[in-house]
Amino acid sequence: MAVEPGRNWQRYDTRDRIKRLAIAVLAAATVLSSWLWLDLDLQYVASSPPELLDLAVRMYPPEWAYAPDIVMPLIETIHIAVVGTILAVVLSIPVAFLAARNTTPNRVTYAVGKLIVTVSRSVHTIIWAMLFVVMFGPGAFAGMVAIGVRSIGFVGKLLGEEIEEIAFDQVEAIDATGASTFQVLLYGVIPQIKPALVGISVYRWDINVRGATILGVVGAGGIGVQLFDAVDAFQWSTVALILIAILGIVLLSETVSARARAMVR
């Protein structure tokens, strides 16, 4: 089939072009109206470099003498992440079975599973933490529960998707041995999702270490408590030290998490 000579080849036809133009105009209008509505003042943008410089000068040098005082809060931060993640994983396994189309008993249970996932994921850790601080009082316990509840959705969703991928024939074969439903889950389903379960848990733990560093803003424990105290007291060199420490544990947890995930793969 030869290309017709003289024919004008175009990527879009007229209708497509109008549609694309309309979308572009709409997007521009949204940005512009948001800007106007928010009443943004460029004055702050202009003054920010000197402000930043000023802050940096005040932060330097970091208050190294304060280092021994943040060791315990750092350990607490990791603990919050570990316990919160374990709590989330334990609770999310049943949620995942409900939220997976091939294991959920019926449509109602499926909807319940999806609802738990959505609620858990759509509320921010800090909001959960505020709630649990009210319920349990300030401290690490409220933080752990907040981290746990927030992570159920994440782990439950990914694990549920993993369950939907399993080879059902293998599950059926365990069923055929006369095993109980629980044993079928244990020997037919869990081994198939175990690598994913380990990977997802470690990944979530690493996200949770980061999350646990700011729980202190609402009094839910961790290194954030010291951080926000220092900010409130304008102790900028202490703030600098804490930020360096946070950077350190975040990098450490990311490395551990990446290694562990590479191992199970």
């Binding site: 080879a167 024939d169 293998q170 059926e172 074969a173 365990i174 069923d175 055929a176 041995t177 006369g178 095993a179 109980s180 629980f182 044993q183 244990l186 020997y187 037919g188 081994p191 198939q192 175990k194 690598p195």
Partner: protein, 268 residues
């Protein structure tokens, strides 16, 4: 004794797919029966009904006079795709055959009592895989995986062993080997055995009694001496018998005369 009695078994999928149509037969204890039929003739459905993985639309299945309605460790099933758990070792797969006899704690922590563990190792030895006990199942060859499937079935200590096209995914050499293990297990343990095959050569070589299915109906039930070329024609119908006889057969390079000879009666 484990006598199987199947009476007026019918299975309809959906509104109008009649997979089994009024099938009846009896099998005596320790018999070794091969079910034959083309793809879609109802072999899998029959075996799945016997193992209670599928419930019949009509009719009954009895073993020693007791009606079978749910999966049970008395009835073991071996699958075409092996269906062992790839992420577990050969040993754990074999051990999973004992689940119906283990309690909660034993199954969670793999703390089955030593008799069960011994049974799992013994079953692996029976299928020549003791050395391979700690290998991950998914790293094993198809033939080895199927032998793990047989080991799992044997650990159940079943009275009835069912195998649905156990060699259809295997190369000819492994097929022979797996069939040999199935036959030995059946004889040594006096298991009432039912194996579906689509390949006539293997059936002839290993079978003593044959049940032929066609479009869900039982069209033949008899012993080697009655399993003639006409019967094969009846089971396989108008389709090219040479194709079936040679299909995944021991020797696909067989000459036309060779195949005729096989059809005529002499086993491979």
């Amino acid at each position: 004794m484990s006598r199987i009695a199947v009476t007026n078994l019918t299975k309809v999928y959906g509104d109008d797919t009649i997979a089994l149509d009024d099938v009846s037969f009896e099998i005596d204890e320790g018999e070794f029966v091969i079910v034959l039929g083309v793809s879609g003739s109802g072999k899998s459905t029959l075996l799945r009904c016997l193992s209670s993985l599928t419930s019949p639309t009509e009719g009954t299945i009895e073993i020693d006079g007791d009606e079978v309605t749910q999966t049970h460790d008395d009835i073991a099933m071996i699958f075409q795709q092996h269906n062992i758990i790839g992420q577990m070792t050969a040993y754990s797969n074999a051990l999973s055959g004992s689940l119906s006899r283990s309690d909660f704690v034993e199954s969670v922590f793999q703390l089955q009592d030593s008799a069960e563990k011994y049974r799992a190792l013994e079953a692996l030895e029976t299928v020549g895989l003791l050395e391979e006990a700690q290998s991950k199942a998914r790293n094993m060859s198809g033939g080895q995986q199927q032998r793990v499937g047989i080991a799992r079935a044997l650990v159940q200590e079943p009275r009835v062993m069912l195998a649905d096209e156990p060699v259809a995914s295997l190369d000819p050499g492994s097929s022979q080997q797996v069939m040999q293990y199935l036959l030995e297990a059946s004889v040594d343990r006096d298991l009432t055995t039912m194996i579906s095959l689509h390949e006539v050569n293997l059936a002839r070589k290993f079978g003593e009694r044959f049940i032929g299915l066609r479009d869900g109906k039982k069209v033949f039930d008899g012993y080697s001496e009655d399993f003639t070329i006409d019967i094969i024609d009846e089971i396989y119908g108008d389709i090219d018998i040479d194709g079936i006889v040679a299909e995944d057969g021991a020797d696909t390079n067989e000459t036309e005369t060779g195949k005729r000879a096989t059809k005529g009666g002499s086993a491979v």
